[in-house]
Structures are given as C-alpha cells and as structure tokens.
Symmetry: C2
Subunit: 252 residues, 2 copies
C-alpha cells in the first residue's frame, strides 16, 4: 500500500515564496555563508520586487531559523552555535526515525525506484562540488519525508535538515560523501524489506555519524560573533554596571 492520499501542500507561487526558495537553496549550497548580509534593498533589486516583499521573505526564513533578524539591523544568514547544531541533529534523528518507521514496508515499487534514482544522482555528483553533494544528500532525506504524505513531518524534517546543512558549512571539514551514499542505499534496502527496527537503527546511525563527522570540535567558534561568544558572561553583569569592551574588528 502506498502511504496516504496526496495533499495540497507546498508553497504557493507568491513572489515571497519564490524568494524564499531561492535564498534557501543559496544558503544550503553555501553560496551564502553563515553571517552573510541580506539587505532588503539588495534582495528586492536582485529579484525584481519591492523591499516589502523581500522583507516578508526574510521574515519567513527567520521563522525557519535560516536567517537572523535583529531590529534595525541588516538581516544575516544564521550562524548557529555549536550547541544549537548539536540540538538540531538530535531533533533531526528523532524526526527521521519517525519517518522511516512510518515508511518501512509501505513503499511502492515506484517510490523505491525514485529513491534509488535519487541516490544514483548523488553518485553521479560525487565528482562535483561539495555544495551539490550536500544538497543532494539533504534532498534524499526530504524526499523520504515527502513519502510519508504528512505535510507537518515534511515541513519539520525539511527545516531541521536545512539547519543542519547550515552547520556543515560552519563546522565541518571537507565532506566525504561516499559512506553517506552507501548508507542511503542501505536505508532504501531496509525500507523495502520492511524491517522497521533495522531501518530506524540505520537512520539513527547514519545521522549520528554525519553529525559526528560534522561537529568535530566542541567549541571552534570560527566565524562566531563576539557578542554571541560573550553572551553567557553578560548574564553576570548588572545593567547599571556595564563593562566596556575594547573595540575589535568583526568580520563583515
């Protein structure tokens, strides 16, 4: 049996949605690195819309955690802390275990073929850039989520997977994607066989190893904002006794 009936999900073809999709893709392909500035004017001009629309799009992406918005400041691509990255992976593991649990033994031949086709594409892209490999690997997981036909699950898996992508560009050493591809194939096989426990274990291990490959150092703080680094210390000072910090150039 092929999961559930289809549902009218996905984003409409608003101008806002178009911009969101474009920026999302740019972010996960690391064309836009964490910390990159996203001025409303520039976005509007680039996409041929007014600032109003660009602003709205940034709001949506901020809700997804891909963009950081601070009042009266230029929006920037989010720069998750190491701990946030770890948290994102933990959540992702639980969500994707749920995905494969729902899917085990319930996929049609067509769906399995589609999954295999996607992994083939991942294979072919091995010669290309890391960015494309990472995007394809992420899209494999999103494709799986889609097959549950649960719009909510799709949304959360997509979101958290994008966030994890974001952390890869911050904390990961150069990506080696072969093992990931093999693990994807193993997951498909277990799904087809319908071995629920096995596929959940496989997915857990797969994501855990991706996370461990990515999040190597506990506190690299490469590219972190000074204020973020100092935030915990700021809790100690009272408001009327402000510590003056020496001026340090931040990356821009």
């Amino acid at each position: 049996m092929a999961a559930r009936a289809s549902s009218k999900t996905s984003e409409s073809s608003d101008k806002v949605s178009v911009i969101c999709r474009a920026l999302r893709r740019a972010i996960i392909e690391q064309a836009l690195e964490p910390g990159a500035k996203l001025p409303e004017d520039a976005l509007g001009e680039r996409f041929g819309v007014s600032r109003t629309i660009a602003r709205h799009a940034l709001g949506q992406l901020a809700a997804e955690g891909l963009v950081e918005l601070r009042r009266n400041r230029i929006a920037v691509v989010a720069t998750p802390s190491w701990q946030e990255a770890r948290d994102a992976f933990d959540i992702r593991i639980e969500l994707e275990r749920l995905v494969v649990r729902q899917l085990a033994g319930k996929l049609t031949k067509v769906q399995i073929a589609e999954l295999n086709g996607h992994v083939d594409a991942e294979d072919r892209a091995r010669g290309g850039t890391d960015a494309v490999s990472i995007r394809l690997a992420t899209e494999f997981h999103i494709l799986l989520a889609h097959m549950t036909n649960s719009p909510i699950l799709v949304r959360y898996v997509s979101e958290v997977a994008y966030r994890c992508c974001l952390t890869l560009s911050l904390y990961s050493r150069p990506h080696s994607s072969e093992c990931a591809i093999n693990e994807h194939r193993a997951i498909i096989a277990a799904l087809a066989k319908g071995d629920e426990a096995k596929v959940m274990e496989l997915m857990h291990h797969h994501l855990d190893s991706v996370a461990n490959r990515a999040l190597v150092a506990p506190a690299p703080q490469r590219g972190r904002d000074l204020l973020d680094i100092l935030a915990p210390y700021a809790d100690e000072v009272t408001s009327d006794r402000v510590v003056k910090l020496p001026k340090i150039a931040r990356r821009g």
Copy 2:
C-alpha cells in the same frame, strides 16, 4: 547540574510579534475557532497598526501552521484534517520524549518547584473554562521544553503543541483534565528521580492518551470545508471534465 546556560531567544518586541502572540493565544484559547476569518484590515485596526504589519504577522502564523493563507483570499484560522492532527500528535510524542530524556535527573530544585507550581495553577484552574485548562496544560509542556535550553526544541515543541491545541477545539469532546494533571505530576516525579526510561514512557503514554481522548472519531469532519472534504475525490476527475456541484452554503 542545571541544564545549559541561558540564551537570548524569544520574539523581539516588534509590532508584528505582538500581534502574533495575541493571535496565538486567542487561537489556543479557542476565542478564535478554526475557520475564523482574519482580514488584514480588521487586524490592523484592532491592533492599531497598518495592514502591512498585520499581513506580516499572518505570514508568520501561517509558517507555524496556525493560519491558512490562500492567494487573494481572507486568511483563516487553520482547520487541520483529522489525519494532520494525528500526525501532529505523533511528532509531538517524539519531540517531547526527547525533551524529558534530556531533562531526566538534570533539573534543579528550583526548576522542579517551578514545574510543581505550574501544575498547582492547573489544579486551581480546574473550576474554570476548558480553554484556560487546555492553555495551561499546553504551557506545562512548553515550560518543560524551555528547561532544555535548546531554542530549536522549544520552537518545535511550542509549534506542534499549539497545533495540537487547535485540533482539540475541532475534534475533542469536552475536556476532562484531572488525569492530565496527575500525569503531569507523575512526569515531574520521574524527572526528579532521574529515571530516563520511565519518564519517556510516562510522557509517551500521557500524550498518546491525550491524543486518543481528543481524536475520537476517525472522520468527524465537523466544520471542515467542503472543498477539503472533496479533495481526494477531485483527484479522480480530469481537468477538462469539471463536475459542477450544487450550491451549498458554507459557514462563514
């Protein structure tokens, strides 16, 4: 040990955020029922802002799944299908198991007191309206999530809990909250004792029973939109052979 250091989360004091918070609360307290119309003009006037801001707020709430936005149509409070409600609860169970797993044995005395205080408040509210009981019960879970100090987890648990609230007003028979309160107390006790497996089991059972109490009938379709109900059937007809339906008054 008291979980992690605090973090600058939570929404800023934008006008947009204010409206979002107000609407969220109105929705989960069922002052705004699923299907209720939310015209931009009216919201703007009510909150003393322009339509631009109201619109932006609606966009945010739509991203959270509390509001449904269709092009050129008045925004309405979301009306999740029975299946979506079930999906939301399934996801919620996994997320909240993660919450209590992270929290087991790691809460400070102060935090435990805070949790007990909240349940006391739930107890006192038993005489009041269902709406307040439901809100307090939901806030208990969000309070737990906050104690993990994982902003991402807080966001997802909050969102999915709000969505579950929404379904309660659609599909639930009159709420009986006593058992829920007892279960909350049991969870606190197990958390304090640090019994990870036990507390995960308790939370799982708690949410599952809430879901089962709420989602009684598989297809009540009370207050469902005609078009949604007919959507699966519409897949059968080809586009050039449109079935004309008799005019039926929809609730407005």
